[in-house]
Symmetry: C2
Subunit: 189 residues, 2 copies
Amino acid sequence: MNFCSQCGSTVRFDIPEDDTRPRHICNSCGVIHYINPKVIAGCLPVYEDKVLLCKRAIEPRNGYWTLPAGFMENGESTRNAATRETLEEANARVSNLQLYTITSLVPVSQVQLIYLAQLDDLNFSAGDETEDVQLFSEEDIPWKELAFQTIRNALKFYFEDRKEGKFPMRHVDLETPAGQYVDKSIQSI
Amino acid sequence: MNFCSQCGSTVRFDIPEDDTRPRHICNSCGVIHYINPKVIAGCLPVYEDKVLLCKRAIEPRNGYWTLPAGFMENGESTRNAATRETLEEANARVSNLQLYTITSLVPVSQVQLIYLAQLDDLNFSAGDETEDVQLFSEEDIPWKELAFQTIRNALKFYFEDRKEGKFPMRHVDLETPAGQYVDKSIQSI
Ligand SMILES: [Zn+2]
Ligand SMILES: [Zn+2]
């Protein structure tokens, strides 16, 4: 950030009065510009014994498989964001959303929520940011071609939990850029 | 937003190519400025049969009681944010955090996470944004002087759940500015 989005003047990076962290402060109008983590919401859509994955047609991780997920927009709930992203990326309708994983991606300042969901029908297809959409059985999951550690975690949790028939929420903190998660940070309720 | 924070030129509010929503787009450098929901994290600190509340010394809702909570910062996990806010607002140390409520505050584009937590000791005191900090028994909770609907919900859930000795996570969507929540949106797992 170089300029104030309110008045167009230059900003300095300094600790405001009554604060403990440096912020972008306008040199003219004095407004403080806060930069906060972003929320990503998505679904793990299940149909019979299969799960739905999307092959990414955009960077990052172009060509790798992921769950339908994306940035939450203003004016929507996290559940609506997850449903909307599933519709946009896979033209797929889901229901019975249940929060399944919440992950803090600390190095990139993101919080990712993945909902376990029922895929309503088979009329799915690739959206604009997607190259391909397919249902996968456990034995066909392309583990080495998954886009993100969070997606790998969600799928791993799902196939483990399915054996027990219980799907407790998992709370994970990813502290390292490489994406190895810290085991002790997992809260399962 | 009136000016581009990258180059200082004017922005227009228009739907970018390959998008479905209007965004602030720079008329000079073309960068798209996304505005996304913010995450608020906090704790419901419990000590024996009492819970810790803070009397707000800042707007909004100056003088009303709340749980220690605030905006998540870049570079921290949601749990770290909840712990940090509890330390900043109440000079209180907590442990054994368990995600208890997740609320989408749709009209203000916020996602609030409240963790049930154990208050470690009684050496708490008012932080800079707090007028008073006290432990309250259920019968002494100032229900009519609580700052926010989300705080009322968390406390209501807590005292209900305490009778059963089980504290399932609650997932609430608040769709109206007045803050009445939609009952069917509550997911309890
Ligand atoms: Zn300014
Ligand atoms: Zn610009």
